[in-house]
Symmetry: C2
């Protein structure tokens, strides 16, 4: 997607691979929106650190980084084929241990290894690693683009769309999930306006989604999470599009960033269509309902403090809450299917109860 730099506007992906220097390159996301910097990861250990330090976040982007990191490890190897496989195992484990619960990280690496195994020489294996990791990243971008193609049809000229958190291109390789329909609409010259929920406690809306929309030149306003209902009730929101971390295929119940459930209930109360945009990898075929999704409770510090720029380019942390109080901090909530108008996937738009049809 487009990024405005000192030297004009340029197309970037969230993460990519530079074969010449055998480096994984990515946007340094913790610096956003206050500074745009590309970080060069010179070996798979540096790539692993970038994942564990959350320089990259979002299922799709982490998956591609895992695939690239594995290829990077393969390419750096010098020696015989037997030692190569020992080395690959070490690279795999190092990368895997960075985010033990990130399903897409393992998916990305397994996708690469399956192909690498077909190689008959070190050179062939290395070549396959490079090609396959690139294919994995390209497919992520392509799937998001397809979400955009389908979802764009829902957005009429002049629509005011509300989104929550960041299911944008920074969370994937390109395009994003919830944002893809907006970006497609913009490129088809539709006039749109986006209400960006700030999304406390980590403020991904105000920081990342707002930055993305600015770069693409899409009109938007950041609003307090508390104000979403206000604009819905006034009839100023035409539709809501959010992403999802896990969607139960059986029922269409959706787990997503905390606050999504609130916006879904408010949308239904005000007769506003509520859509969830997801890549296929987000579908969970094992659970019976959303009630079974485990909800991560994160450190209360995220609620008690805020992080931002001090105006001199430094990232600072300030305590916003009373010091003798504790916080509770559920990171996700589950929105039951009854509040969801449709699920936008790379394979089309489905009602929540139709997702089961997608089983191959």
């Amino acid at each position: 997607m487009k990024v405005k730099t000192d030297k004009g506007t340029k197309e970037y992906r969230t993460v990519w691979f530079d074969r010449e220097s055998n480096a994984v390159r990515m946007i340094n996301q913790p610096l956003l929106p206050h500074r745009f910097e590309i970080i060069d990861l010179k070996n798979y250990r540096e790539t692993a650190s970038a994942i564990s330090n959350m320089v990259v976040r979002g299922a799709g982007a982490i998956g591609a980084t895992g695939a690239y990191g594995l290829a990077q490890g393969c390419l750096a190897f010098r020696g015989n084929l037997k030692d190569f496989w020992k080395h690959v195992e070490k690279v795999y484990q190092t990368l895997k241990n960075t985010r033990p619960t990130a399903v897409d990280l393992v998916n990305g690496m397994d996708f690469v290894i399956r192909e690498v195994k077909k190689g008959n020489s070190l050179e062939e294996c290395q070549e396959l690693a490079i090609k396959t990791s690139q294919k994995f990243a390209d497919e992520d971008a392509e799937h998001c683009k397809m979400i955009g193609e389908h979802g764009e049809k829902l957005i009429k000229n002049g629509f005011r769309v509300l989104t929550h958190c960041n299911a944008g291109w920074l969370a994937f390789v390109d395009w994003g999930s919830a944002t893809a329909p907006m970006y497609r609409a913009k490129r088809k010259d539709k006039e749109i306006f986006v209400f960006v929920d700030e999304t406390r406690p980590r403020l991904q809306g105000a920081r990342l989604t707002a930055w993305e929309l600015s770069q693409e030149g899409i009109k938007h306003a950041i609003i307090a999470d508390n104000a979403a209902g206000y604009y819905m009730k006034r009839g100023e929101v035409d539709m809501v599009i959010v992403g999802s971390d896990r969607t139960v295929a059986e029922t269409g119940d959706v787990a997503n960033k905390i606050g999504t459930y609130e916006k879904a209930v408010l949308a239904k109360e005000n007769n506003i269509p509520f859509y969830v945009a997801i890549p296929m990898s987000t579908l969970d075929w094992n659970l019976g309902s959303g009630e079974e999704i485990p909800i991560e409770e994160r450190d209360g510090e995220e609620v008690l403090f805020a992080w931002g720029s001090d105006g001199k380019g430094e990232r600072v942390k300030v305590r916003v809450a009373n010091a003798s109080s504790l916080a509770r901090n559920p990171a996700f909530d589950v929105t039951p299917a009854k509040y969801i108008t449709g699920i936008i996937t790379p394979r089309g738009i489905f009602k929540p109860e139709e997702l089961v049809k997608l089983k191959d």
Copy 2:
């Protein structure tokens, strides 16, 4: 209410008058929750500055400060009775101009002036000013206490109450409106737990309500505004109590801090009783419905930045949002009566449609 200081726990009001030094004294609220300090306002001009600089905020507390400030101006006067009234007019206008739309400020001063007019000498007038301003403040505290007496009956032992923003004693002279039932319940040895919405953008929940509850030793947790629905859906919230800036007597529609409407819709969706606690002065007898209440849109900076303590006791401001994005910042929303279970007033608990009965 109780405040823990270096020298143990002491009872404080938000604002009071010290006759000996002719000073208005108040809790310096912008320093909370990071520092507890009493500020001494030595003359009515200093008192006026404290109102305009929001050292004191909240309808009840501002009303009492206006009354005290007027008395303070009266008491400082030396001269004849004719010049006295010129002086009073100047004091009145100075105080009034601090917050042109604060109805309670004018109410408090008018309450005092009506009595002062009965005086036949400067000394009598001054004595009446002191006594009447004290009466006004005492009545504010008494009304809040009555809200507590009535509302406490709704809170069963073990209840988990959710509140939004700060309708606590810091916004009044004592007790608060939404918090009064909780404080009464605590003093009757009921075990309660309070979910404190952080209340972006100004975070009055995390800063002020959490501080109050800590001081009174009431168990609580600060939660992101986004998480209120999550706890409601899980059945962990037994009731909601909020305050109100303006309540339409005709319909029972309630204007309150932005986000109140969201919590009300979520409470109804989850069959949780939703109560609004108000002093009588909040009732608006002129409007036909909540739709007619004008909504103040405040500076977007409140959304784009956060204020907090840097850990060294300094209050700092950090930009949390993308620099090239703007924000919209409605300060209030209107909750239609259909979402409200009951209105807790000093004269009892009423259904929204019963408020009209209160007309004298």
